[in-house]
């Protein structure tokens, strides 16, 4: 039988569009316009899952974002699995596949449920803190079983096939919520000409009007909604976002909106469409029209399927044409909930009774119900429900609110649906994300937004303004205020007329008393998702957890995916009574984003994979790829690491590349080195202050190596700077340090020495740098340049301008390999052409491209450091044996000088950079390996340094390394030892860090 609980008519569903879906393997039918929850209820599905801790059967409890139970797994394929979808917020679509997340073998006959019944008594809050401690070694075993019970849904195990977006907006007024107050605010703001965004989490706009019995101007309220939407759509600067939840209210009016573009169509977005979008909005003013959320009363067995939030019953009846039961019993403490009984009656169903906690209710809805012959039991409440898999009855008894006690034995009433309403909680989440503490209002028995510095207006239900007419007026006025504060002139408007009905106050009842006392009564659930009971909260307070945060943390109240939307206020009330304080004295826990959960993919947007971070390539990338290069990540750059030929591995390729440079000539793409153009009359003075060495005497046409230190005297970058003109220099930095160095120069110029006239421009990407290195580099270069390369005319550490391969170039004669080298800088656009000509000319010299690894080997053979590899932010120039690069007599106290002269920086036995030569020349010291003097010492051993660079395959023919050793420079010739993970020990001799051509002849040929 299909759709047994579907009413013959009514609702906003399209009965002509029948949709098939499956739940737990069984096929069902529903209509377009249904939520999954509505469709399940229409088919009489009672048990939707099992509870987290006690494995009790649970049914659909609410109709919106507050739903604690109906949290399902959705997805027809592995890759499109979606965990923890609230059935109440999921639109039904053709072919939807849903399953429960707990229950074995299935939710109807669940074995864990038996365990829950028996074991439940042993599981008071925090029970796990009190047990599983012995024997000590067993915790991991206990935990294995505890983890089996973890979680609701499951993650897919295949990669997500869908695409997600981020989108940035600036608007004048962002309106959160498109119920009556929100729409009124939107009209007011939009008519003023402001740029307006209206976002609402539901499938369609209307909010509470979607299931309201009320009329506006004598017509169904939704007609006004349709008119309002049409007007807003017609305005140019208005953006309407349904299915879009404003999830986070961040500082300075920055808000995030999670829009679900295609989740109502399927578990996978149609081809070419984005599944979800995360809007990042900066709003001049925000109007919060988030409404209020009904809260249930807490009574015995209030979790058995068939217990439902009163408002949800109305939603299912009026919006979806579904009756989630036959015989309704309503338990309430307020007037508004009476609409449920009236809706139920209108739908031709049986209202068993209304239990009203108030002694003499006389509101308009109450009188209407009375007039229609509904039995009203005053001064009473549902004390407990009966039934295991579905409510079969409930006991209504008289209660005394003052003494919190049951005053009559009461009466068991047969029913299959208990609707419960304990009043309304304004949805203050967003208003509180930035720390504004909500304020308790005794007149409405709810927290309203507290004071906050944000530029926002709260309207309607969130303010405790509940009457429809009042809410519209509040909304409109709020919209006017927001727009005018944002600089727009509001236009007057006429609001539709709502019927003004007498509404009496709600009475303070949260936790319904039970004659057995809380600890012994049938379980009274406060937080259904986390199985937190009233007894648990009382126990927590008994054990000394007095702060609201303690209670929350000890019991897990409000920790679920619903973040306590239903349970928190009730929990507070119970704790407050137990501690004999008031609810406002208890206070609330912190509200944090998100209001409802947000898909990771939507937050990440497109920023994954290759655009996780920008990839930087040099102008020669295509050539490198063609040469078969392997690449290394250096900062954001992809740099050729080595160029394997004929199946060579790293070591073979590097050995060959090294040899080629030493024997003939190699070419390196050095374009990634940072290049900063420095100009101004004080450029030279500035360099003097920023570098450790002196720059006063560097002539035009010359270049010099320099070290940079932080104020603490520790080396943080290095490079060669050339003097282009007396007031013009070009600085090179390490590849990874380019941005950092530029900022470093700027901060000192702008904040410390603004009197120095000097300007910096990053030119890293403007120039490509080709390094020709090796004894044949002069011969090769001479074939493609007009520059006089003569040894005397173009000496070491100078630069010249000229044409290379017909293109204007700056050529620097500097060397990082120890060989005769030329660094050719040309405009990046020409680089490929220049390279091709050089390669062509280089054939006869066996010109060999080499990568970063060979560069590292060759420089290490010369003892040149790499900042970041041979240094770690704790090394002074003297530690690096680079005292020659320290201008000890410079008149200005340059950056680093004072720092490197502090007590600890000048002491003896600091770690110093030295060369290391394994005693066995074939042994390789792992880079990073720690060094000791005494390999026989027991652990913990005294470590005296570590290996910073190490190369077994090189041009020397033996393994060598660089490293730091305590007092190493005075220990040349001594031995150090490196104990390895496998128990072996590598012995090495401390040697000079210059292994190759110590006199530097080769770079001077």
């Amino acid at each position: 039988m299909s759709q047994t609980h579907r009413l013959p008519n009514g609702g906003r569903v399209d009965r002509n569009k029948v949709l098939t879906f499956t739940f737990n393997g069984q096929q069902y039918k529903g209509y377009e316009g249904d939520s999954l929850a509505a469709a399940l209820l229409a088919n009489g599905v009672d048990i939707i899952g099992r509870s987290f801790k006690y494995s009790r059967p649970r049914g659909i409890y609410a109709a919106g974002a507050e739903e604690p139970n109906a949290v399902l797994q959705i997805g027809a394929t592995e890759a499109t699995q979606i965990p923890n979808v609230r059935a109440t917020q999921q639109a039904l679509y053709q072919g939807l596949v849903a399953t429960s997340t707990n229950g074995w073998p299935n939710v109807n006959t669940d074995m864990m449920g038996i365990l829950g019944k028996v074991g439940g008594k042993l599981m008071p809050p925090g029970f796990y803190y009190k047990t599983f401690m012995y024997p000590k070694s067993f915790w991991m075993t206990y935990e294995k079983y505890i983890r089996k019970a973890a979680g609701l849904g499951r993650s897919p195990t295949q990669n997500d096939p869908d695409t997600y977006d981020n989108m940035n907006h600036h608007c004048d007024v962002l309106i959160v919520g498109a119920g009556p107050a929100g729409l009124a605010a939107a009209l007011a703001a939009a008519r003023s000409g402001a740029r307006v965004i209206v976002a609402d989490e539901q499938e369609e706009f209307g909010g509470s009007l979607l299931d309201s019995r009320e009329s506006l101007d004598g017509k169904p309220a939704m007609e006004w909604v349709a008119k309002a939407i049409a007007e807003l759509k017609g305005l140019p600067d208005v953006k309407l976002l349904p299915r879009a939840t404003v999830n986070g209210y961040h500082d300075h009016n920055f808000l995030t909106i999670h829009e679900r573009l295609t989740d109502h169509l399927g578990d996978r977005a149609p081809i070419g469409q984005v599944r979800q979008r995360l809007h990042r909005v900066r709003a001049k003013r925000v109007v919060l029209a988030t409404g209020a959320c009904e809260r249930p009363l807490v009574y015995g067995n209030n979790d058995v399927p068939g217990n439902m939030l009163a408002g949800a019953v109305s939603t299912y009846v009026r919006r979806y044409g579904v009756a989630p039961g036959k015989k309704l019993l309503l338990s309430t403490n307020n007037d508004h909930a009476y609409r449920v009984a009236l809706d139920w009656l209108d739908a031709g169903q049986n209202v068993v009774a209304v239990a009203d906690a108030r002694s003499n209710p006389r509101g308009a809805l109450v009188e209407e119900a009375r007039a229609k012959g509904i039995r009203i039991l005053t001064g009473s409440a549902v004390i407990e429900a009966r039934g295991t898999k579905r409510v079969t009855g409930a006991r209504v008894a008289a209660i005394d609110l003052k003494t919190h006690s049951v005053t009559s034995p009461g009466e068991w009433l047969e029913c299959d649906l208990v609707a419960t309403s304990g009043g309304y909680s304004p949805v203050v989440h967003l208003a509180s994300h930035l720390g504004g503490k909500p304020t308790w209002r005794e007149d409405i028995l709810g927290f309203v937004p507290g004071e906050a510095p944000q530029k926002r207006v709260c309207v309607g239900g969130i303010n405790g303004v509940y009457g429809l007419g009042d809410s519209l007026a509040d909304g409109f006025e709020g919209g006017v205020r927001a727009a005018s504060e944002a600089g727009f002139k509001a236009v007057e408007g006429v609001l539709p007329k709502a019927l003004n009905q007498l509404q009496e106050a709600t009475v303070a009842l949260f936790h319904v008393p039970h004659e057995k006392g809380t600890a012994r009564a049938p379980k009274q659930f406060v937080d259904l998702q986390n199985d937190v009971t009233a007894a648990a909260i009382e126990l927590a307070t008994r054990e000394g957890f007095e702060s609201v945060e303690h209670v929350k943390r000890y019991t897990a109240l409000g920790f679920g995916t619903d973040q306590g939307k239903l349970g928190n206020v009730n929990g507070l009330a119970i704790a407050a009574r137990s501690l004999n304080v008031t609810i406002p004295q208890m206070g609330t826990t912190m509200f944090r984003p998100n209001y409802t959960p947000v898909t990771f993919g939507a937050i990440a947007g497109r920023h994954c994979g290759h655009i996780f971070e920008p990839v930087r390539y040099t102008a020669l990338q295509a050539w490198h790829v063609k040469q078969g290069a392997e690449f290394e990540d250096v900062g954001q750059w992809k740099r050729p690491w080595y160029f394997p030929r004929n199946g060579e591995d790293l070591h073979a390729a590097v050995k060959r590349e090294c040899q080629a440079v030493r024997d003939s000539v190699g070419i390196l793409d050095a374009s990634t080195l940072g290049k900063i153009d420095i100009q101004g009359p004080d450029a030279r003075e500035f360099l003097n202050r920023i570098y450790t060495n002196a720059w006063t005497k560097l002539d035009v046409g010359k270049a010099r190596y320099g070290l940079m230190c932080k104020e603490d005297g520790m080396v943080f970058d290095d490079g060669v700077t050339a003097c282009l003109a007396d007031n013009h220099f070009v600085m090179t930095t390490t590849t990874g340090g380019a941005a950092r160095v530029l900022q470093w120069l700027e901060i000192y110029q702008q904040t410390e020495w603004p009197e120095l006239k000097v300007y910096f421009t990053s030119v890293t990407d403007h120039y490509a740098t080709l390094t020709l290195s090796g004894p044949n580099s002069r011969k090769l270069l001479s074939e493609v340049t007009d520059i006089d390369l003569d040894r005397e005319a173009f000496p070491f550490m100078t630069w010249k301008e000229g044409l290379v391969a017909g293109v204007p170039a700056r050529v620097f004669r500097i060397s990082f390999t120890g060989e005769l080298s030329y660094e050719v800088n040309i405009q990046a656009d020409y680089a490929m052409g220049v390279l091709e000509k050089i390669v062509e000319a280089g054939k006869k010299y066996n010109l060999t491209p080499y990568g970063t690894e060979t560069m590292h080997v060759l420089r290490a053979e010369k003892g040149f450091i790499i900042v970041g590899q041979d240094t770690d932010g704790s090394m002074t120039p003297d530690d690096l044996n680079m005292g020659w690069c320290v201008g000890r007599t410079k008149p200005f106290s340059w950056l680093g000088w004072r720092g490197m002269n502090r007590e600890d920086c000048v002491r003896d036995q600091r770690k110093q950079l030295v060369g290391l030569k394994p005693v066995n020349p074939t042994q390789w010291l792992p880079e990073g390996a720690q060094l000791v003097f005494d390999p026989k010492q027991t652990i913990p051993m005294t470590m005296v340094g570590h290996v910073t660079s190490s190369y077994a395959h090189n041009s020397l023919g033996y393994s060598f390394a660089m490293g730091v050793v305590k007092g190493g420079l005075k220990r040349i010739g001594e031995r150090v030892f490196s104990p390895q993970a496998d128990g072996s020990v590598i012995e090495a001799e401390i040697v000079s860090s210059v292994f190759f051509d110590p006199k530097g002849d080769r770079q001077n040929i």
Binding site: H250, D251, H252, N253, F254, R282, K284, G435, P453, E485, A486, G487, E711, D712, Q743, E746, I747, Q750, T751, E752, P754, S893, W897, R898, G899, R902, E903
Partner: protein
């Protein structure tokens, strides 16, 4: 996410364009060599770190690359003003108790 008025660009821009560079108004000692280790350590490492108004240095890294100062409340994160290097703040901890909270952000075009 903070919304910061760059006094060089004359516009309110999102925090993502900026880089926070710590406490402002810490001049480098004019004669570092005359400083004791203690004085030098104070200059390099020791900060006010106030719970309340903080004068701090920002860099519009993804914009004009200029540095400027801001007075920001470190509890509410409100930015009371931004101002050029070399100038003094209008809002200070002493003056804060009497100064009304700005109803409009600096540079907000309304």
């Amino acid at each position: 996410m903070l919304h910061i008025f760059c006094p060089h660009c004359g516009e309110l821009r999102s925090e993502e364009e900026f880089h926070a560079s710590g406490q402002a108004h810490i001049p480098r000692p004019l004669d570092p060599n005359a400083c004791t280790d203690k004085e030098w350590g104070d200059y390099m490492f020791f900060r006010d770190n106030p719970r309340g108004l903080h004068h701090e240095l920002w860099n519009h890294v993804a914009g004009c690359r200029q540095f400027f100062n801001a007075t920001r409340n470190t509890v509410t994160y409100e930015i009371l003003e931004t101002y050029l290097i070399g100038t003094q703040p209008q809002f200070t901890e002493q003056a804060a108790s009497v100064a009304p909270t700005a109803t409009r952000e600096q540079g907000e075009k309304v």
